[in-house]
């Protein structure tokens, strides 16, 4: 494979602007240079077959049907140097501590509002604020046990936090399976380089969940609550339940008794459940409290949770901090709760509810990315520089009608990494989603899930919109030397 002509228009994760490999990526690129195009194609094919046979799928909704697709996997890994990763992980731990304190405060004394650091009106308009959660004190004071934060790198090499997914973040199973595929395809590199492992995540997640049990001392009964086989992340639900050895349950498998205890229906009769890792959205969790017609949830679950009879991860209401407008306050939260300076910078943001920011946004629609506060999956956003005039006018009207629901960010040029293109490696934009587990201490995955836009020039990396994935290598240069 020939790298001599490979150049990116922005920061590239593997190749510096002078065409030289970055130090952590050098062994990889040397190795790839030694492979013929034919050998690479063969390995890509092997990787695709492995993914297909392992059944690594996600579900897309199209034309009213659910279709299982395999997540496109690009062979060339993304490489991060260990020292850089350690700084990033420290930044992520800091964010999570502040975010959990914020959520607890919001459902408790609301000190941050009374001290005029966070505006009360934002809370009133938040669709993720759950009045049903006010006054609840979950175990260890943790609300968001599992978080997937999206990080992006700008042209100057700075790594920014783009958003924190605190509701039901997904993708971690791809991170683990991508590594399994990569190990099959590049066994030689894993022998000679110090690539840090990623497969301890299920053990860490199990410990995080077990720590929440309301019956400490006994082995807890833990279940993963899935919306079922038609959910786009069903593969992951199975994968995680299987690798932790916990029950995978659907709403219909559970019920809450008159004693407020949550039970599973088993062939022996009802069995008590202590901890539920729920992958069902808040609003569908309990028809008694939220959407009355939800069939995905369990009637009485919130009652059981409030009574402390069952633990829910993430706690209902944790999404109040998972809102693109609230996101902009994270640096302030860090200073307010921890008295520290943020280690990881936020992507600069403009809030449309603020008159000054809004005027700026409306005047610069052609340069900004505009996002609704509560959508995920890359839906409903405007990429100003690429939008038509009509689309920009549509967003102007949307913003003026509901300013609280919109925020804007400069169009970052998202860093790239090479993918196996037609004849030569070609740069594609990517992001990184590490996963963070909060209990007494905080665990951060080694690297995370690298999502890559497979289309040339595209900035949208979501799997629902044609994105793919790469394995992510955190490489220890000191150990290798």
């Amino acid at each position: 494979m020939d790298w001599t002509r490979y150049r990116s228009s922005t920061w590239d994760e593997l190749v510096a602007s002078d065409g030289q490999p970055r130090p952590a990526a050098r062994p990889l690129l040397d190795y790839l240079s030694g492979l013929s195009r034919h050998e690479l194609t063969e390995r890509q094919l092997a990787a695709d077959v492995t993914a297909r046979v392992m059944g690594i799928t996600f579900t897309v909704y199209s034309e009213g049907r659910n279709v299982d697709r395999t997540l496109p996997f690009d062979l060339i890994p993304r490489v991060i140097e260990r020292r850089e990763w350690e700084r990033t992980a420290a930044g992520l731990r800091q964010r999570m501590r502040a975010l959990n304190l914020f959520i607890g405060d919001i459902y408790g004394d609301q000190k941050i509002i009374n001290d005029n650091v966070f505006p009360r009106e934002l809370l009133k308009e938040s669709v993720n604020f759950r009045p049903q959660c006010v006054g609840v004190k979950p175990p260890l004071g943790v609300w968001a046990h599992i978080c997937g934060s999206d990080l992006v790198r700008d042209a100057d090499g700075t790594l920014y936090a783009l958003e924190d997914n605190l509701r039901i973040p997904s993708g971690v199973s791809y991170m683990i399976e991508n590594r399994m595929v990569a190990k099959r395809v590049f066994p030689e590199l894993f022998e000679t380089s110090a690539i840090l492992p990623v497969d301890n995540y299920p053990t860490q997640l199990y410990d995080t969940l077990a720590a929440l049990s309301p019956r400490p001392g006994d082995t807890p009964v833990i279940a993963l609550l899935t919306p079922g086989i038609f959910n786009s992340a069903y593969f992951e639900h199975c994968y995680l339940a299987q690798s932790m050895g916990i029950e995978l349950v659907e709403g219909g498998d559970l019920f809450v008794g008159d004693d407020d205890v949550c039970y599973m229906r088993t062939v022996y009769g009802p069995k008590r459940v202590d901890v539920i890792y729920r992958r069902v959205d808040d609003m569908f969790l309990d028809p008694e409290v939220f959407h009355p017609d939800s069939v995905l949830g369990v009637r009485g679950l919130i009652r059981s949770w409030r009574a402390g009879k069952v633990a829910l991860a993430n706690a209902p209401g944790a999404g109040v901090a998972d809102d693109k407008v609230v996101f902009t306050y994270v640096p302030k939260m860090i200073r307010y709760y921890l008295g520290e300076e943020p280690i990881l910078p936020n992507v600069p943001s403009y809030l449309c509810h603020d008159a000054k920011d809004r005027a700026y946004v409306l005047a610069h629609l052609d340069q900004l990315v505009v996002k609704p506060a509560n959508e995920s999956g890359g839906y409903g956003m405007l990429i100003g520089p690429r939008a038509t005039k009509r689309e920009r006018e549509k967003f102007r009207r949307l913003i003026e009608a509901d300013p609280r629901n919109y925020m804007a960010q400069p169009t970052l040029s998202l860093s790239t990494a090479p993918i196996l293109g037609g004849k030569e490696p070609e740069p594609r934009h990517l992001d990184l989603r590490p996963f963070i587990l909060s209990r007494e201490d905080i665990f951060v995955t080694t690297g995370g899930l690298t999502r890559v836009a497979m289309q040339k020039g595209s900035l949208v990396v979501n799997s629902s919109q044609g994105g793919g994935a790469k394995d992510t290598w955190v490489v220890d240069l000191e150990e290798a030397a």
């Binding site: 392992m54 059944g55 994968y239 299987q242 498998d253 009769g269």
Partner: protein, 311 residues
């Protein structure tokens, strides 16, 4: 063990066992066709009824006398035939997909692989030249899954539901395959041929159940209707005989949460097979006995369903 999971494990093993038996049955009948003299042929149509797809076949093909290739394609790969082998395998896969976390990963890989093979080679079902290899691959795929279950799955309650599903399905398929012979698949040209063809037909039944060699070893005699029925219904050592399957269930039930209804229905089925008289059945034909046996097995399934899956 969640009731829903038990239900799915039970059906997963039933579907796998069903697919394997169907593949053998169709393969063997294809082979017999090749051995028949000109003018005699396999009547494939009764096979469709035996496998419970008569009505659907009528809808698709009407009253015409079907060609071999049409029937075989219908039984193997017709997407609109809910009991086609292709759909049986895809049901097995879908069923396992919803409980994937309960079985070792390689079971999923194996069934997924089989599903992908069928989906990418459906045209092979219609071709006489490729069909044996196609069906052989399916039998192998099913046996691979069974072997993984036997070798790698802990003997917990879930495993008992897998075994129960296999045992009930095999008893049911054995009875259905006996039924195909009762229906007289080989169309003879004359009465003289009929006797010769009958032996051929029962050899076919034994082969479809991988029983021919074991039959010879146990009985050391040529194939007769009476002995074949004795062997397939009441042999205590051959694992696809109906009695063997029922004895296996007898061993499974004490390892599951006790349910009186299941035990009661089970005793009924066991009694029927105990009392069966192959000598008489050989004379009057096994048809109505097989019907009763299938009713008993359906009742047993119903009792399991109500007692464990709907609780």
């Amino acid at each position: 063990m969640l009731s829903r999971v038990a239900d799915n494990l039970y059906w997963f093993s039933r579907y796998v066992r069903r697919a394997e038996n169907m593949a053998r049955l169709i393969d063997v009948n294809g082979q017999i066709q090749l051995d028949l003299p000109r003018g005699a042929h396999i009547a494939w149509r009764p096979l469709v009824n035996t496998l419970g797809a008569g009505a659907q076949f009528e809808r698709l093909h009407g009253g015409e006398t079907p060609h071999e290739a049409d029937v075989v394609r219908f039984l193997l790969v017709e997407p609109d035939n809910p009991v086609a082998l292709r759909n049986v395998v895809s049901h097995a896969r879908e069923t396992l997909r919803t409980v994937r976390e309960t079985l070792p990963q390689d079971c999923w890989v194996a069934i997924n692989d089989l599903h992908l093979y069928i989906e990418s080679n459906p045209e092979r079902a219609g071709s006489r030249r490729h069909r044996p290899e196609f069906l052989g691959r399916i039998v192998d795929g099913c046996m691979h899954v069974s072997a993984l279950l036997t070798a790698n799955v802990s003997r917990d309650t879930g495993y008992q539901f897998l075994r129960l599903g296999t045992a009930i399905e095999q008893a049911d398929m054995t009875s259905r395959i006996i039924d195909t012979a009762a229906a007289g698949l080989i169309q003879a040209r004359s009465d003289d041929d009929a006797e010769a063809f009958q032996a051929m037909q029962w050899m076919g039944v034994l082969r479809s159940l991988a029983a021919y060699q074991m039959y010879r070893r146990h009985l050391r005699q040529k194939v007769s209707v009476e002995l074949a029925l004795e062997f397939l219904l009441k042999n205590r050592e051959f694992p696809r005989s109906v009695l063997f399957c029922l004895s296996r269930i007898q061993g499974i039930l004490p390892q599951m949460p006790p349910r009186r209804q299941v035990e009661q229905v089970f005793r009924g089925a066991m009694g029927l097979v105990f009392d069966a008289n192959p000598t008489r059945l050989a004379v009057v034909g096994p048809g109505s006995f097989v019907d009763r046996l299938q009713q008993e097995l359906a009742a047993l399934h119903g009792a399991v369903h109500e007692s464990y899956f709907q609780a």
